[in-house]
């Protein structure tokens, strides 16, 4: 079982700060990485391909971001064909409740879940517990 790394991809820096604080409070062992757009996140994934220790188990992916948005990241992620030991749980975290976005999300097999902002501490805690317990059973 690898390290419990989490990658948060969001252009809202306040949100990034806050979510890191919450995650750390929930689990001291969690290693948190952040990217402010899709391109940065892709660069990090490429880096993980070289150094498997960095590989995230969970990606919290915002949709609306500059340069490369969440959908763009997913499209490029598919093309990367990285080979990690464990499955990566990717959650789409967005403030959009539009049916078109939800429908589009179903088209991506890589996605584990669709979380509508605001993401509360409770919701985040539940999600991480679920993810990590599943990881441990693998």
């Amino acid at each position: 079982m690898g390290k419990e790394n989490v990658l948060i991809v969001d252009d809202d820096e306040i949100y990034l700060y806050l979510i890191q604080r919450v995650l750390r409070e929930l689990s001291n062992g969690v290693e948190i990485y952040t990217s402010t757009d899709g391109e940065q996140a892709l660069d990090f994934i490429r880096k993980c391909d070289e150094d498997k220790q960095l590989a995230p188990k969970v990606i919290l992916l915002d949709v609306n971001m500059p340069f490369l948005d969440g959908w763009g990241f997913l499209d490029e992620f598919k093309k990367l064909k990285v080979n990690f030991d464990d499955k990566i749980f990717i959650y789409l975290v967005t403030s959009s409740e539009m049916p078109a976005d939800k429908k589009r999300a179903l088209e991506y097999e890589e996605l584990t879940g669709y979380i509508v902002k605001p993401i509360s501490e409770k919701k985040l805690s539940g999600m991480l517990t679920e993810v990590f317990s599943e990881m441990r059973t693998q």
Binding site: L18, F67, E97, K117, E121
Partner: protein
């Protein structure tokens, strides 16, 4: 209408009238020919009849000439014994009025006269040596017969009353030694023969006239040979002759004095030759009488006979006039109704055309409204997104910070959260300002449309960018197609500013950068192309987000991703559209359709 009616009626009737006149003339001619034929037959019949009657007279006269009389018959007192057996024979010939033998000296030696009782009786012998018929008769040779003209009988130089038309047949007589002993003179009473001739076989008038056209007998006169008495003041004047030139000049039938005349000449001398040459002892007839047998269809009868032709002509024309008048009237009425129908149809068509045009205008308006509604709908979606996404994020952050502050006992930790709260507050303020700007565009209430000269506007905006003044960035104008546009000066300025700003912001460093503003007219609409030679953008990757809010596609450049969103919103607010074409590394072209 009536003028058309008379025109059509005349056009139809004139050919029929001409045809009916031609037919009438032909029919009339045929009728004349028929009448002529009938009359010719009638005249021929009369001629044959007269010929037969005259032949009987001739043969009756010849009979006496053929007898061999005893020698001295003219002087013997015993001649009564010879003539006795013939008395009954003479009596039997009712046409015999007088029967006489006259010797070569012109004196009668036998004379029988028919008395009123009907029998032939002896009469007083007279000397007739001075009479023409006796003189001519005594000149006759054997086999010759002399017939006088018809005359009224005179006794002792006075016309016998009642008037008695007679014709004398004279033939020489010979004794058994073939010595001429005189002549036999028979006065034929012509009353019966003339009556038979006059008897009606048709309604036409009959005349038997002589060479001088004097009437011998006619069914139009009561008196035969009236012309003989024309100087007799005691007689009532009647028509005695026919003053008709046609008998000399025309064929056997002609029209004169409105009468149809048909005639045939009749000569006593030629009567026997008509019978043919079968008789052995055919006499030679000598006569100065030439008659003309005439039939006249008098004007009234002619008119009556041809009347049905006129009647048929009149009836046909009346019927034609009535029928053609109805046809012409119906036709004109029908054309009039047809005309009215077409006028109404045209009016309806015009009305439909107007309605169609109106409908087209309405449709266009509806389309325009639909387009505007779509645009507005998209704008509202953008607004919804603006509020939902961009407001929800700081609010969520604020909520998390507040929750953290509530739970945090350590004041130092709380202090670390406060700057983040200020950041959230600032971002909300910025967002609120952006929303206000966007709502202002959506409202459009303060937009003033005015005529703008594009070159002047670009020149003014250019001055706001130092790069264009220093020559680092060229602004090229190609505004030949159009230069003036009715638009909001504020929005147009914003659009040009944003596009020029982006072109400068994303210019390439290794080339002489420029932007070209060029105008075109496409599909009757004014189009502005804004083309730069900058870095360009991958439209496959970013195309759908190109004009969306807070979208940024290049690192290391300032901007919050609001410019193109505002450009699109401002253009669409005034029914203009913007589209983009771009090649990475080559440049970008925006097309604005006003």
């Amino acid at each position: 209408m009536w003028r058309k009616f008379f025109k059509i009626f005349t056009l139809l009737y004139i050919p029929l009238l001409v045809l009916s006149i031609i037919l009438g003339v032909v029919q009339k001619k045929e009728q004349y020919l028929n009448l002529e034929e009938i009359e010719k037959r009638g005249v021929a019949y009369k001629k044959n009849f007269l010929s037969d009657l005259c032949n009987s007279l001739i043969y009756s006269t010849q009979y006496w000439s053929n007898i061999e009389y005893p020698v001295g018959f003219n002087t013997s007192k015993n001649r009564s014994r010879f003539i006795g057996p013939y008395i009954n024979f003479i009596n039997g010939f009712t046409d015999y009025d007088q029967f006489r033998f006259i010797d070569v000296n012109g004196r009668e030696f036998v004379r029988y006269e028919r008395k009123r009782g009907g029998d032939m009786v002896r009469g007083m012998l007279q000397d007739k040596s001075d009479r023409d018929y006796v003189i001519n008769g005594l000149k006759l040779k054997k086999g010759q017969i002399y017939l006088t003209s018809i005359d009224l009988n005179k006794e002792n130089g006075v016309y016998e009353r009642p008037y008695k038309p007679v014709l004398r047949g004279i033939a020489p007589i010979f004794d058994s030694t073939d010595k001429k002993i005189g002549v036999v003179v028979i006065n034929f009473k012509m009353t019966r023969i003339l009556s038979l001739l006059k008897s009606q076989i048709s309604n036409s008038n009959f005349y038997l006239i002589d060479d001088d056209y004097n009437i011998i007998t006619s069914n139009t006169t009561s008196l035969d040979l009236g012309y003989k008495l024309k100087n007799d003041s005691e007689e009532v004047l009647e028509k005695f002759s026919l003053n008709i030139e046609g008998f000399a000049n025309h064929e056997s039938s002609f029209i004169e004095k409105n009468s149809l005349w048909t005639f045939e000449n009749f000569s006593l001398e030629n009567t026997l030759s008509k019978l043919g040459g079968n008789l052995k002892s055919q006499p030679e007839v000598i006569s100065s009488s030439n008659w003309i047998i005439v039939h006249e269809i008098y004007p009234k009868l002619l008119k009556k006979t041809l009347g049905h032709v006129y009647n048929e002509f009149v009836i046909f024309n009346c019927f034609a006039i009535l029928t053609l008048a109805i046809i012409a009237f119906t036709f004109v009425k029908s054309r009039e109704r047809e005309g009215q129908f077409y006028v109404e149809l045209q009016e309806k068509n015009n009305s439909l055309e107007k309605n169609k045009e109106q409908l087209q205008i309405t449709n266009n308006k509806i389309k325009e409204i639909n387009t505007r509604l779509k645009v507005r709908n998209n704008q509202l979606k953008e607004f919804n997104y603006l509020v939902c996404h961009n407001l929800r994020a700081p609010v969520t952050s604020m909520s998390i910070i507040v929750d953290m502050i509530k739970k945090e006992d350590n004041i130092d930790n709380v202090r670390t959260l406060l700057p983040k709260l200020i950041d959230v507050s600032t971002s909300v303020t910025v967002l609120t300002e952006d929303i206000r700007e966007y709502v202002t565009i959506l409202e459009q209430n303060e937009v003033v449309i005015e005529s703008i000269e594009l070159n002047d506007q670009i020149a003014l905006i250019k001055n706001d960018f130092p790069e264009t003044l220093l020559g680092d960035f060229n602004v090229i104008l190609e505004l030949e197609a159009w230069n003036v546009i009715n638009f909001s000066k504020f929005y147009l300025k914003s659009v040009i500013q944003n596009l020029l700003s982006n072109a400068i912001k994303y210019k390439k460093d290794d080339v002489d950068s420029h932007i070209i503003f060029s105008t075109k007219i496409e599909d009757s609409r004014k189009v502005l192309y804004v083309k730069d030679n900058g870095r360009g953008i991958d439209l496959d990757r970013h195309g759908e987000n190109m004009f969306k809010l807070y979208k940024r596609f290049h690192r290391n450049t300032s901007g919050k991703g609001m410019g193109l969103f505002l450009v699109k919103s401002q253009l669409e607010a005034l029914n203009a559209q913007i589209s983009v074409e771009s090649i990475v590394g080559k440049g970008t072209t925006f097309k604005i359709k006003f």
